[in-house]
């Protein structure tokens, strides 16, 4: 949408919001309409100037800000300009649809029915012409997290988070490659880099830890409640490591690698392959990362990490024919 059309929609919405709620503080209007205080005041100025020529000097929108910072409007003079909000545009409907679908596929999996209901109700509130347009083309933008925790895990974690209830997890930790059982106190569910995490106080480690939800093998409510601390925003992802590994990727992956790593950590080799320095905290994690490229990535350094990859491969899949075992 062009800026002028968008501003028009905002002005109209401001009038519609005042119709709905009566006089409002400038700050409240600003927060409801995602505008700054200055933008609200400028919008009020604009609206005062909406009038149809010299023969209607009073203007269509009788609006003003009083000395206490309340925006007041006398309804009824505007010929219905702002009695109701404008219908959703195609872009607005698409945006809502993408957001609701993403939430229903993720943290709100248990509310998938409500998510469908929301979209149906919004569709019904549009005029028939608009409804036809949005129905045909609503699913055009999608947001997907990389990982899909199993439905029962999502449901249990979310319910326990809301109730403030301890939950027992079976968790496959990427740092140790072990499945452990622990009781945790859920603090927050958050997404980062496309992965969903549960941040919880972990009884096993005696500390706050992030758990990647697609590695939770099972989740069971315990029935034990705890008092939640005040909400604060955390960095939900795993902390970056302090050791560095050098990994060589073959030429087919060179472009892909360059897009994902800072240039100062990437070195081009004569045969078209690239070497990347990757920070890591856990040798087990980075060994898994390297083998997940199915032979197109090899650890160059450090030597103990090379040994780790080889040792884990042979332990997991057995010594291949012709391999003389550990050197």
């Amino acid at each position: 949408m062009t800026p002028a059309a968008r501003e028009l929609a905002r002005l109209q919405l401001l009038v519609a919001t005042l119709y709905r709620h009566g006089a409002m503080r400038v700050e409240d209007l600003a927060s409801r309409l995602s505008m700054t205080r200055g933008e609200v005041l400028a919008a009020v100025d604009r609206l005062q100037l909406v009038h149809g020529g010299d023969d209607s000097p009073a203007g269509y929108v009788d609006i003003d800000v009083d000395a206490t910072g309340m925006v007041e409007m006398t309804p009824g003079l505007d010929q219905g300009l702002g009695r109701r909000p404008l219908p959703l545009t195609q872009g607005e409907y698409t945006a809502l649809c993408a957001a609701v679908r993403a939430a229903a596929a993720g943290p709100l999996a248990a509310l998938a029915t409500e998510a469908d209901a929301v979209l149906a109700r919004l569709e019904q509130a549009q005029s028939p012409a608009v409804r036809d347009r949005v129905r045909r083309h609503r699913e055009r933008v999608a947001i997907g997290a990389d990982n899909r925790p199993a439905d029962p895990v999502w449901r249990t974690v979310r319910a326990c988070l809301e109730r403030g209830e301890e939950v027992e997890l079976e968790y496959l930790a990427a740092s140790s490659d072990e499945v452990t059982r622990r009781t945790v106190r859920p603090i927050e569910v958050g997404g980062r880099n496309g992965f969903w995490y549960l941040v919880a106080w972990c009884g096993l480690r005696g500390a706050e830890r992030p758990f990647r939800l697609d590695r939770v093998v099972s989740a069971r409510p315990t029935g034990r409640r705890f008092a939640r601390g005040p909400a604060r925003t955390r960095d939900v992802g795993a902390p970056p490591g302090s050791r560095m590994a050098t990994v060589r990727f073959d030429r087919d992956l060179a472009g892909w690698v360059r897009e994902r790593h800072p240039p100062e950590r990437v070195r081009d080799l004569a045969d078209g392959s690239v070497e990347v320095r990757v920070p890591f905290a856990s040798a087990v994690w980075i060994a898994g990362f390297v083998v997940s490229h199915a032979g197109r990535a090899v650890v160059v350094d450090p030597p103990d990490l090379r040994d780790e990859v080889r040792r884990r491969l042979l332990a997991a899949f057995g010594a291949p024919e012709g391999d003389g075992g550990t050197p």
Partner: protein, 358 residues
């Protein structure tokens, strides 16, 4: 003629004038009511000279542009009547019913879904329809009857957040995303310079069908004029993009299904004919079967808790990579082609990591 009025204010005045009229208005009527915004109505008793005609054409074009802007915001000005009708019943008309959203009645749980969903999408850097989302939410809130839409102390709202700040970026990602977001919504063509994975730079016109974010990458699926086929493009590889000139909105095929593209796993990319790979998952990670192999079909659960799956692969290597990274918790049962590939990769990786540095 005044020309300094901000466009939004002029547009809103035009809307109010049309709503106020309660009858169709001719362009001359609108000129008279708009305080000089579209010039003054021509004097019927005077022959217009060249300069007057040019001035009239110019304000006429301004009016047409304003009509188009209003249409973008969802307000459609119509022309009423035909040549056979009485002149006073012909003119521009704005039907109030066309510019109003009906009351939206949401249950509390539904409203929570909507607010939480909006906060999720709002947490994504460069979400291309961010402004649309904000406006949409404010509109819905203004249309919500009899319910307080403030977030309050909703424990769910307080207990989760989403930030996708590490999408892979290229030189023009933010601009390209905004343009492509508009293009998929309005079905408009885009001309772009694109760098392929192999570094080849080409220029092409595309018709974007859908846009999605996955694995930290925004992708667009589009009909590509250069290849004359539907193709997927990574937005971060777009070098530059602009709206293409030419005819109006294109049609998206009726059977287009965005989910079929956006939910494809790496092993589902079109590289070779399909192979049905049979896998067995250990009991310890059986609960992760859906999370790891979402599209896989379960074929059985053994008494010792193992889960057997069939995964259809058209790009075997990523699936083999995934099995390798599970360190033996997943086994390839067949077919021999897949089991052989795994053994071959184990051997080559073990050899590459043996002895001294490569």
């Amino acid at each position: 003629m005044r020309s300094r009025t901000p466009p939004a204010q002029r547009l809103l005045t035009l809307v109010a004038v049309l709503l106020d009229a309660r009858r169709p208005l001719t362009f001359a009527d609108i000129q008279g009511l708009m305080d000089g915004e579209y010039g003054v109505p021509p004097d019927p008793d005077r022959e217009a000279d060249e300069a007057a005609r040019r001035a009239f054409d110019s304000v006429r074009r301004k009016f047409e542009r304003d009509k188009a802007l209003l249409a973008e915001a969802g307000i459609r000005i119509r022309w009423a009547g035909s040549d056979e009708d009485e002149p006073e019943t012909r003119g521009y008309l704005l039907d109030p019913a066309d510019m109003r959203m009906a009351d939206v009645r949401l249950e509390p749980a539904e409203l929570r879904v909507l607010l939480a969903a909006a906060s999720l999408a709002g947490g994504i850097d460069d979400f291309p329809l961010r402004e649309d989302l904000r406006l949409a939410l404010a509109k819905v809130q203004a249309a919500c009857a009899g319910i307080d839409t403030g977030r309050g102390d909703d424990p769910l709202a307080a207990g989760w957040h989403f930030h996708h700040g590490h999408a892979v970026r290229g030189p023009a990602t933010a601009e390209a995303l905004e343009l492509l977001g508009d293009a998929v919504v309005n079905r408009t063509r885009v001309r772009m310079t694109y760098r392929t994975g192999r570094g080849e730079v080409t220029e092409r016109e595309v018709r974007p069908y859908g846009l999605w974010l996955r694995h930290g990458v925004w992708s667009v699926v589009a009909w590509c004029g250069l290849r004359e086929a539907v193709r997927v493009f990574d937005v971060h590889r777009v070098v530059s993009a602009e709206a293409a000139s030419g005819p109006g909105a294109f049609d998206v095929p009726e059977d287009f299904d965005l989910a079929a593209w956006s939910s494809r796993e790496p092993w589902e990319l079109d590289v070779h004919p399909p192979i049905e790979v049979r896998l067995r998952l250990d009991r310890a990670v059986a609960g992760l079967a859906d999370a790891i192999f979402g599209t896989g079909r379960r074929t059985g659960t053994g008494p010792d808790g193992v889960v057997d799956l069939v995964v259809r692969a058209t790009n075997l290597d990523p699936l083999i990579g995934l099995v390798l990274s599970l360190w033996g918790r997943a086994r390839v049962l067949g077919p021999p082609e897949a089991a052989g590939r795994l053994a071959e990769r184990v051997a080559s990786l073990a050899a590459a990591h043996g002895g001294g540095a490569p």
